[in-house]
């Protein structure tokens, strides 16, 4: 597909504005190794990717987004060694397979990536205000602003007295709303695991002290002549087996804990209203969510200071972006009239991304992507 020159030049002006804001323009390779995308976005991403292999059998793909390529190029460059923040912007094609008959799989995306800034709240706010500039560039001055904050849910889960298995599960399922609802349902039911085979051992272990129980299971596995199998160690298997034993005794979630989670997930509104509701929830439940809430309020302050009318922002505690590499603030900008298929701009914070791509030290990261065709289609419609 050839990209319409008008489409490109209008987007080029937008990226020029990003450059003037201090972002360095980069153009990563279209052809990328498939592994980082599958590792970070999960196997579910594969069906939306154009995967191919080279003659040596390596799996490659046409880039499905630009965040990972920009991050990889940055890590490979000498500049990544310095602790100084790095800011990049881009304009280029991304490739996503939305099933046969869904039209071209090639889309034009512009975006920014900000790596290494430690002033988290200000960097979050800057990303959202640049996103608003992007829609304004196409004449969409009042998009619907949806925001969320994954770190608030993480903080809630961390503060609750829950078995580790349940914490892992809830954290994982935050991005999968149907499963999350099912999880809460299951949590309310006592030990509905239906495991019968090892019930005797599990019951005996439940009363033993954890250390002795762990040692016993490890010994049993060793006696059976089993060493590490399938990449898991004996200790790891024993850990979880003992954990299951403990969970088996009291796996029902106390009703009030489920109520807390559901009340949390029900909180939505303007950032200020949501913050007040969250503080009230934390106080009622005797939970400390202060660091996450402080950051949240500070971010709202920076947004107001950069001229965003925060009363127009819709915040939902349950809002996630469906991809589990986000770690904090997330946002999407939509056409209020619902004329576009999907979000116009989307972004958020992914502080674990660069570490997962091999950075020796943690690098905070925040960015956004602009769906050019969707915005241009709104302009072409002669609106607003």
């Amino acid at each position: 597909m050839t990209i319409d020159p008008d489409l490109y030049s209008q987007a080029d002006l937008l990226v020029g504005a990003f450059e003037r804001a201090g972002y360095i323009r980069v153009s990563p390779a279209m052809l990328q190794p498939a592994e980082p995308f599958l590792d970070l976005a999960g196997e579910d991403m594969r069906r939306h990717m154009y995967v191919l292999s080279d003659s040596a059998g390596n799996e490659l793909c046409l880039r499905p987004d630009l965040t990972i390529p920009v991050a990889r190029d940055h890590l490979a460059s000498a500049a990544s060694g310095a602790a100084r923040p790095a800011r990049f912007c881009y304009l280029g094609a991304v490739f996503r397979d939305h099933g046969s008959g869904a039209g071209s799989g090639e889309f034009l995306q512009a975006g920014i990536e900000s790596f290494g800034r430690t002033d988290t709240a200000a960097a979050d706010a800057e990303a959202l205000s640049l996103g608003l500039e992007a829609t304004a560039h196409y004449g969409v001055n009042d998009p619907e602003i949806l925001t969320g904050d994954v770190s608030l849910f993480s903080a809630l889960i961390a503060a609750l007295e829950l078995a580790p298995a349940w914490k892992r599960r809830l954290a994982k399922d935050f991005n999968r709303k149907v499963t999350l609802a099912e999880d809460l349902e299951r949590l309310a039911l006592a030990g509905a695991n239906g495991r019968s085979e090892h019930r005797g051992v599990l019951a005996a272990l439940a009363d033993a002290n954890p250390k002795a129980a762990h040692a016993l299971v490890t010994d049993l596995l060793s006696i059976a002549g089993i060493s590490a199998v399938g990449g898991r160690t004996i200790g790891e298997i024993a850990d979880r087996f003992v954990e299951q034993a403990e969970l088996g005794v009291s796996s029902a979630l106390p009703g009030e804990m489920r109520k807390v989670i559901e009340r949390f997930l029900g909180i939505a509104g303007t950032p200020d209203d949501a913050a007040a509701a969250l503080r009230a929830l934390a106080e009622d439940a005797g939970l400390s969510l202060d660091p996450a809430l402080d950051l949240f309020e500070s971010r709202t302050g920076f947004l107001a200071a950069s001229g965003v009318d925060v009363a127009r922002i819709r915040f939902e505690t349950g809002f996630g972006r469906g991809v589990d590499y986000y770690t904090g603030f997330v946002f999407e900008l939509h056409d209020r009239a619902g004329r576009a298929e999907g979000q116009l701009v989307a972004g958020g914070r992914y502080d674990a991304l660069l570490s997962r791509l091999g950075s020796p030290r943690p690098v905070p990261a925040v960015g956004l992507a602009v769906w050019i065709e969707r915005l241009a289609a709104l302009t072409d419609a002669g609106l607003p």
């Binding site: 590792d39 579910d44 085979e197 059976a224 298997i237 979880r240 087996f241 954990e243």
Partner: protein, 326 residues
């Protein structure tokens, strides 16, 4: 040029079973140009071209309409054909080529019995090892949708071309999704099936491509083939039971129908009391006892070669799948 293309597995047990299946229906597959030929015909039936292909090629050809009918495993059909229901129709399960697609983990994973356990292990594995659990399989699409259905996200698929069950021991994957018929190969490799890890109970199927050129001629030939297959399949479901006795009446027949599952191809007894029944094989002896208790002197049971009937459910299925909608 032949009107109808029928794809049959080119080698192995699947080929033998498929040829036997057609032969039973009076459709002998022949290779007029020698056994090495990959094109054949059906003896005494014009208008059919038989293509001998690998089971996976058959699935591919069905997907693009390159063949009208194919014999292949349901596992391959569901794995290899996206939007499967729009492209093919499963006409009949054939009772051979049984294979279950299952999720199997190392036996040493004593903490894993269910898919929910596996989900939890996947998540903690990622946190502990900083990489995702690897699943070796050739069933990428089946695995992906099954795992998604169980909410499992923290895993990676490692494509495996063969000897998948060896992957965990070789260290190239943590667990596998593979076919098994008896589970013996899994056990020999120190693997166990997850309790609710049955993805698909597969067997060989007669599959029709909805995208093949179903002209009038092809449909007519298909009707002949399906008529014979159905007649033979129906014959195998029953034994023919013949008897003659005066006390036979509709009430007695009603009892026989509900108790033994018999059908009456020619209706009730003739004026002379002659009665022909079709009875499921496992109920034959009980039926014979029942008939004698009610007055029959002798009951004759025989195998049936074919049962041709006016209706043909197989052709009805094909017709519904390929008839243009307007």
């Amino acid at each position: 040029m032949s009107a109808l293309v029928l794809a049959v597995p080119a080698k192995g047990r699947l080929q033998e079973n498929a040829e036997r299946f057609f032969a039973r229906a009076g459709l002998d597959l022949v290779k007029p140009r020698g056994t090495r030929d990959y094109r054949g015909a059906v003896a005494r039936l014009d208008g059919v071209e038989v293509a001998f292909l690998s089971a996976s090629e058959i699935a591919q050809q069905l997907a693009v309409g390159g063949v009208h009918f194919g014999i292949t495993g349901e596992d391959l059909v569901r794995e290899m054909i996206p939007a499967v229901d729009a492209k093919v129709a499963l006409i009949e399960a054939l009772g051979f080529g049984h294979a279950n697609v299952v999720v199997a983990v190392p036996e040493a994973w004593i903490d894993v019995r269910t898919m929910a356990d596996l989900d939890d292990v996947a998540t903690s594995f990622r946190a502990r090892h900083d990489r995702r659990l690897r699943v070796a399989t050739k069933y990428i699409n089946l695995t992906r949708s099954f795992f998604a259905g169980h909410g499992i996200a923290d895993y990676r698929i490692v494509e495996s071309a063969g000897a998948t069950e060896g992957a965990p021991a070789a260290g190239t994957a943590e667990l596998i999704v593979d076919i098994t018929s008896s589970g013996a190969t899994l056990a020999a490799n120190g693997l166990k099936i997850v309790d609710d890890g049955m993805i698909l109970r597969s067997q060989a199927n007669l599959v029709a491509s909805r995208l093949a050129p179903w002209g009038r001629e092809a449909l007519a030939t298909a009707a002949v083939i399906l008529d014979r297959i159905e007649a033979q399949a129906r014959a195998r479901r029953y034994k023919e039971v013949r008897t003659r006795f005066g006390g036979c009446n509709d009430t007695l027949l009603g009892v026989a129908k509900t108790q033994f599952g018999v059908v009456t191809p020619f209706g009730g007894p003739t004026s002379s009391g002659m009665l022909t029944l079709h009875c499921p094989p496992d109920a034959v002896h009980r039926l014979a006892l029942f008939l004698r208790e009610h007055g029959a002197d002798s009951v004759i049971v025989a195998d049936i070669e074919y049962v041709f009937t006016r209706d043909n459910p197989l052709f009805a299925r094909l017709d519904a799948a390929v008839r243009p909608k307007n």
